[in-house]
């Protein structure tokens, strides 16, 4: 992963069950408001904590994409 890579973050609000897991793992990136996750920013630097949060969502409601190519980087 080079420093110039940027990640785009997506949340599917229909699948989100408001568990708060993402916000618990990566509080800088997520906040649960009224039972749904809210992203702090749609684009960020690569951040392994963020990947952990996305991989931990039981509803698979979160995705990380390469901001340039649109390739899905997580969940695996």
């Amino acid at each position: 992963m080079t420093d110039t890579t940027r990640w785009r973050l997506e949340a599917d609000h229909h699948s989100c069950a408001g568990t708060g897991i993402c916000a618990g793992i990566a509080p800088d990136h997520f906040q649960v408001v009224d039972g749904r996750t809210v992203l702090s920013a749609a684009e960020t630097h690569p951040d392994e904590t963020l990947r952990d949060a996305v991989e931990s969502c039981p509803m698979e409601a979160l995705r990380i994409l390469d901001a340039d190519s649109g390739e899905v980087l997580a969940p695996s």
């Binding site: 408001g18 568990t19 708060g20 897991i21 916000a23 618990g24 793992i25 509080p27 649960v32 039972g35 904590t49 952990d52 991989e55 931990s56 969502c57 039981p58 509803m59 698979e60």
Partner: protein, 399 residues
């Protein structure tokens, strides 16, 4: 600042029976949202009872699990091990959780539905053959949830009596002594160590196998963490849903209007299970302490850095600030942000599995025995005592 110098002794005076919630919880929620409590072990701490505060105590990163020690207030003789997933903070917590979280996604659990239906159908067949009355606890709830977690983890079902006993001792408050709890803990760890060793001579396609591979191939957890994780999954995987199934069936059978509604409109099942999760108190009370790592403002005042907070989810689920008519069981309730599975990083790993187990078991029971009813008067049902979880000792049913 806190509004009181009073210290309440927990467990509160006076027994509650069945699924009742001790009135003291309700009183504190309305009059003393940050209450000083003294527990049987580890001394004093704060008790929070409002939905908002319980949620904060569960999920705010300023509340730590890892800082818990022998001097943190608790209700059980043994403190929880420091290397258990429930006792860790992110990122250590996340490292362990990610090893198995993929096996518990809604999608993966969805793929297990027909197998769960088969297991329940087999148990209902046995009950039909035996004829009424049957005991829902021993004839359905325990064999079902134990079969499921045994298969997932890779634990032999034939050993259930052994590990059921150890786990009951570990999860007890007053029913056993500290020495007995220490012994049970050593036994269940020794047992898990044997299962782990078996996976080192021959690979197994189960969750224990996954954990062993994560240790041996990638060094992603220590040997102690591996054993503890196995014990946690085994204990959590059957104690919780088995007790909750008995409690929920009892709740339905003693709310005939709701039972009739569910029979009439089976499509309400998922919503009914959520409502039962909200309404039915699984724990006897207050759960495990979290320790504030800095000062935190809660609705009843400030918790200082270093202080322990206990969160009563049971009570938060009845908070009128969040739930209309909170003491009413209403299986049509639409908005239901209950905290039965916790909130935040430690949100129940097995929630999707538990939901499916409960839906399949309750749905199949009502379909197979539409006239299911208690075989004894409700007040004659005997409840377990001296443990962390509530549940009927036996739940005699007829149809």
């Amino acid at each position: 600042m806190t509004n009181s110098d009073r210290v309440h002794t927990y467990p509160f005076e006076g027994q509650v029976s069945g699924l009742d919630i001790h009135p003291k919880f309700t009183e504190l929620r309305e009059t003393e949202p940050l209450a000083r409590v003294k527990l049987p072990y580890g001394g004093e701490g704060w008790l929070v009872t409002r939905h908002e505060d319980v949620k904060t105590a569960n999920s705010d990163p300023r509340f730590s699990r890892a800082s818990i020690g022998e001097d943190t207030p608790r209700t059980t003789p043994l403190a929880r091990r420091g290397d258990a997933i429930l006792s860790l903070d992110p990122p250590e917590h996340t490292r362990l959780r990610r090893l198995v979280s993929k096996a518990f996604t809604a999608r993966r659990i969805g793929q297990m539905q027909s197998w769960l239906e088969e297991v329940v159908a087999g148990l209902l067949d046995d009950m039909a053959r035996k004829g009424p009355p049957c005991d829902l606890t021993k004839d359905l709830a325990e064999p079902f949830t134990i079969t499921v977690i045994c298969r997932l983890l890779g634990v032999p079902y034939e050993d259930r009596e052994k590990f059921q006993h150890w786990s009951a001792v570990i999860m007890s408050t007053t029913a056993y002594t500290r020495e007995e709890a220490v012994e049970a803990d050593a036994s269940i760890r020794g047992y898990l160590a044997q299962l782990v060793a078996a996976r080192r001579t021959e690979p197994h396609d189960d969750l224990l196998g996954v954990l062993v591979a994560a240790r041996d191939e990638d060094d992603r957890l220590s040997e102690d963490e591996l054993i503890t994780f196995g014990v946690t999954l085994l204990v959590a995987g059957h104690e919780t849903s088995a007790h909750q199934l008995g409690n929920m069936v009892y709740a339905l059978l003693t709310h005939p209007d709701q039972l009739a509604l569910l029979r009439e409109r089976p499509e309400l099942l998922p919503r009914a299970v959520e409502e039962l999760l909200r309404y039915v108190p699984l724990g006897n009370g207050i759960g495990n302490a979290r320790v504030a790592t800095e000062d935190v403002e809660l609705s009843g005042g400030t918790v200082r850095a270093g202080e322990g907070v206990l969160a009563a989810a049971v009570n938060a689920n009845r908070d009128p600030r969040v739930f209309a008519d909170p003491d009413r069981l209403d299986i049509t309730r639409e908005k239901n942000p209950h905290l039965a599975f916790g909130h935040g990083a430690h949100f129940c790993l097995g929630a999707q599995l538990a939901r499916m187990e409960l839906q399949v078991a309750i749905g199949s029971l009502l379909e197979r025995f539409p006239d299911v009813r208690l075989a004894v008067p409700a007040e004659d049902v005997v409840w377990k005592s001296g443990g962390l979880f509530r549940g009927p000792q036996q739940l005699p049913i007829a149809w």
